[in-house]
């Protein structure tokens, strides 16, 4: 493919690519991004090898795609044209899939997803509850196309929004369209995108920059990773349209260094777009120029803050500075700069193609369109989901997410990472929306949802987040540098059972202070996890302080492991697994944990056979004394004692 010199050549190319698509040809779509960590490469190799062996390699396309979303079931594949969804595959399953499904069209029951609610095996991806509750707009190519193949993107309508923007809209119309769509920044703060673009467009000066914030740093969030890995051209197209609308000629994509596949796919996408004349000088013959470069992060969470990110691109310490001036007036090297998040840019093409009204038709009064969330923690269907803004939290966590794994009970869902808050059970009916979440102390944030169950200690969660923000605090402003440190000290004290009366009030006072006076978003939002856990789980704090008890059994200093003598079958399993040899007893002799040696790793509880259930975790009560000498031998030897 050579350089496309005008819109017609792009259309011709798309038509040619579409004509080449054989919809009857078997295509196996394998997730090769997230699932790679679960052995997707071995699955692909097994397919290629087996197909070759059977002489079918020309007939069947093996397509390496981005994330399908259902990470809990990795590695997953979909076989087109039927859309058969197989999950949790091993290389041993591949010969069967080829001989039965691909050659004979038979569905292999055992590889289908079993819907827990109904007990039914589901054949097609779209019928699985995890997928049917979603609305894929930003992710519409993710898992469908090969992200390293620009033809796939173009054949799915890719770059037609750019074409429309360049040749039939004009900058003002584009900005109006984006403004009217109601799109708000997906990075966390939720600023109206069209307005931001308007500021940059009207800012004085000829040199303007465009920046994509791909420094997805919130622990528990992987939406942007999936978009960059699975559909990188959608981000480029969004940036191209934005740059054209604002008059920017140069730009940067800032990506976390922890995302090597995203960097690889982006680099490839830039090269391809350049070769096709969709990036660089005189794009599609329109006279519009844009040069884009990739900047890899170097491991600093605060660089997700826009002014810190700009400092980092300039090659300096990534420290924020006070605003105003906002980057729209004075950003990169003092020039007007537009910064949007990955997901924000990935929304643009569909708004241009389908119009503002279409986009505004999804979502709520305050939040239009869809939002991607990453589900993680104590939840069955860990993965990536895209839903219209405004659907109840419950719907996401239980219907799509499949709820808490067996044996656990839902306690809270943490939204918005270290800047967000914990949403307790009583608010599960609330819509996922900017305003409703803010009202209860949480935020929409970038889209991380981490589910917690009864075994999660909320004081420990608050301490965990504070430890994170305290480490990542750049140290420039005092409230954040010292405030987070003092708060962390108090929280650590409480989790160690050394809390004192008045600690909660002190925490609240400090939290309010840091919130009001920190320089940037990192500090201003750092207290949120503390404030929301105190607000909704104050009793847990009090239990730690007053009774030295951790109700969830998480805080190490406050728990002890204990073997119940009447349940112990003296099987030696726990004693063998104990890393510090704290368990005494022998075959036929009841085991006892030496509390002075115990490192509280929990191995014994993990390995004690379920049918015995002899090891328990105690908190807030003294450990019972060992059985008196002479009674520790049990007569009835169980089978497991050998």
């Amino acid at each position: 493919m050579g350089k496309l010199r005008n819109a017609k050549e792009l259309q011709d190319l798309r038509n040619k690519l579409l004509a080449e698509v054989d919809t009857n040809r078997t295509c196996v779509r394998i997730c090769m991004t997230g699932c790679r960590a679960h052995g997707a490469e071995q699955i692909r190799d097994a397919f290629n090898e087996e197909l070759k062996k059977q002489g079918l390699d020309k007939k069947v396309e093996i397509r390496e795609t981005g994330c399908h979303g259902f990470c809990a079931r990795a590695p997953v594949i979909v076989i087109d044209p039927q859309g058969i969804f197989y999950q949790q595959l091993t290389p041993e399953d591949i010969p069967d899939i080829i001989s039965q499904t691909i050659e004979n069209g038979e569905v292999i029951e055992r590889l289908l997803y079993l819907e827990p609610q109904t007990g039914q095996r589901i054949t097609c991806e779209r019928d699985v509850a995890f997928y049917s509750g979603q609305q894929k707009n930003v992710l519409h190519n993710c898992g469908i196309i090969d992200p390293t193949n620009v033809s796939h993107y173009i054949a799915r309508g890719g770059y037609s929004a750019l074409e429309k923007a360049l040749f039939s809209m004009g900058p003002e119309t584009i900005i109006n369209e984006v403004t009217e769509s109601g799109l708000r920044g997906r990075g966390g703060a939720g600023f109206p995108t069209g307005r931001k673009w308007g500021f940059v467009r009207s800012a004085a000066g000829d040199t303007k920059y465009i920046v994509c914030n791909g420094d997805e740093g919130d622990p528990g969030a992987f939406m942007d990773r999936a978009v960059l890995e699975g559909d990188p051209h959608s981000v480029l197209e969004g940036m191209l349209i934005a740059a054209y609308a604002m008059g920017a000629g140069e730009g940067y994509i800032y990506v976390r260094a922890e995302y090597p596949i995203a960097v690889e796919h982006l680099k490839l996408a830039l090269t391809q777009a350049k070769e096709l004349g969709l990036l660089g000088q005189n794009i599609l013959g329109s006279g519009f120029n844009l040069e884009l470069k990739i900047k890899e992060g170097a491991g600093a969470f605060v660089c997700g803050e826009e002014t810190a990110l700009l400092a980092s691109i300039e090659g300096r310490r990534g420290m924020p500075r006070p605003r105003p001036p906002f980057p729209a007036q004075s950003g990169l090297w003092g020039k007007p700069t537009n910064i949007n998040n990955v997901e924000t840019y990935a929304n643009i093409a569909s708004i241009i193609i389908n119009g503002a009204d279409w986009f505004a038709g999804m979502g709520t009064e305050q939040g239009k369109g869809t939002k991607i969330f990453s589900l993680a923690g104590k939840i069955n269907n860990t993965g990536l989901v895209e839903v219209p803004i405004g659907i109840p939290i419950k719907e996401v966590v239980f219907n799509i997410g499949g709820g808490v794994p067996e044996g656990g009970k839902f306690k809270a869902v943490q939204m918005g990472g270290p800047s967000g808050g914990c949403v307790p059970e009583q608010y599960l009916d609330l819509p996922v929306d900017y305003g409703s979440l803010e009202a209860i102390g949480a935020i929409m944030g970038s889209g991380g949802m981490v589910v917690m169950d009864e075994a999660t200690c909320m004081v420990d969660v608050a301490r965990y987040f504070l430890a994170f923000t305290q480490t990542e605090s750049c140290g420039k402003c005092t409230p954040c540098r010292l405030g987070t440190k003092r708060m962390l000290e108090i929280l650590t004290r409480i989790t160690e059972g050394k809390g004192s009366e008045g600690d909660i009030e002190l925490l609240i006072e400090l939290a309010e202070g840091v919130k009001d006076s920190a320089l940037c978003g990192l500090g201003q939002t750092a207290p949120n996890p503390v404030l929301t856990t105190i607000k909704y789980f104050r009793d847990e704090y009090e239990e730690h302080i007053k009774n030295h008890r951790c109700p969830a059994g998480t805080c190490k200093a406050l728990i002890s492991y204990y073997i119940e003598p009447e349940k112990c079958q003296a099987c030696m399993i726990c004693a063998r697994e104990c890393p510090v040899d704290a368990i005494t007893g022998g075959k036929g002799v009841i085991h006892v944990i030496d509390q002075t040696k115990c490192s509280k790793c929990g191995n014994c509880l993990e390995v004690c056979p379920e049918r015995f259930g002899a090891v328990t975790k105690l908190s807030g009560v003294p450990v019972p004394a060992p059985v008196p000498p002479g009674t520790e031998v049990i007569r009835k030897r169980s089978k497991a004692s050998e």
Partner: protein
């Protein structure tokens, strides 16, 4: 000042970014890729060639978590400390790793085989708790598995 780093490895990097603005971090990243860490003489050369003061380079290097001023191990263990991993017990995994290797987070074993690092989030929450050894992911870990995996790398022939 020690003087044993082969400074010629820097030449192609410096050439590539000559007279471009804002390239310090990129140059440092590529230099570290070439040397494994950032030796003092490498930093001095970068300082001279890019005409950036050594103090500013030092400020940048110490600010970002991914720059190293001391040699790192041949196998890099990166344990995820993200929220999903935390609620699934990654703190226990960290303890086991520290105990097995006899080093603390952020340190390198004396024989330069392992460096133990923690990262804020690997973005693979569905594998929680998860760690990476070099480029391989090990997910849904138990303390025992983590130990076994490290021990398998410690055997001769498994080093990469």
């Amino acid at each position: 000042m020690s003087n044993n780093a082969d400074l010629s490895l820097l030449n192609p990097i410096l050439e590539k970014y000559q007279s471009q603005k804002g390239v310090l971090i990129t140059v440092l990243q590529e230099a570290q890729e070439a040397y494994g860490y950032l030796p003092e003489e490498v930093l001095s050369t970068i300082s001279q060639e890019l005409r950036v003061s050594l103090s500013r380079i030092y400020a940048v290097v110490t600010f970002y978590a991914q720059f190293y001023l001391t040699p790192r191990g041949r196998n890099i263990i990166r344990l995820c400390r993200g929220t999903a991993c935390h609620v699934r017990g990654s703190n226990l995994i960290l303890e086991v790793l520290e105990e097995t290797l006899g080093i603390s987070e952020g340190e390198t074993t004396e024989n330069l085989q392992f460096s133990l690092e923690t990262v804020a989030c690997l973005g693979t929450c569905f594998l929680a708790p998860v760690m990476m050894v070099d480029h391989s992911y090990y997910g849904k870990l138990s303390s025992q598995q983590a130990k076994t995996i490290i021990e398998s790398y410690a055997q001769p022939g498994k080093e990469s």
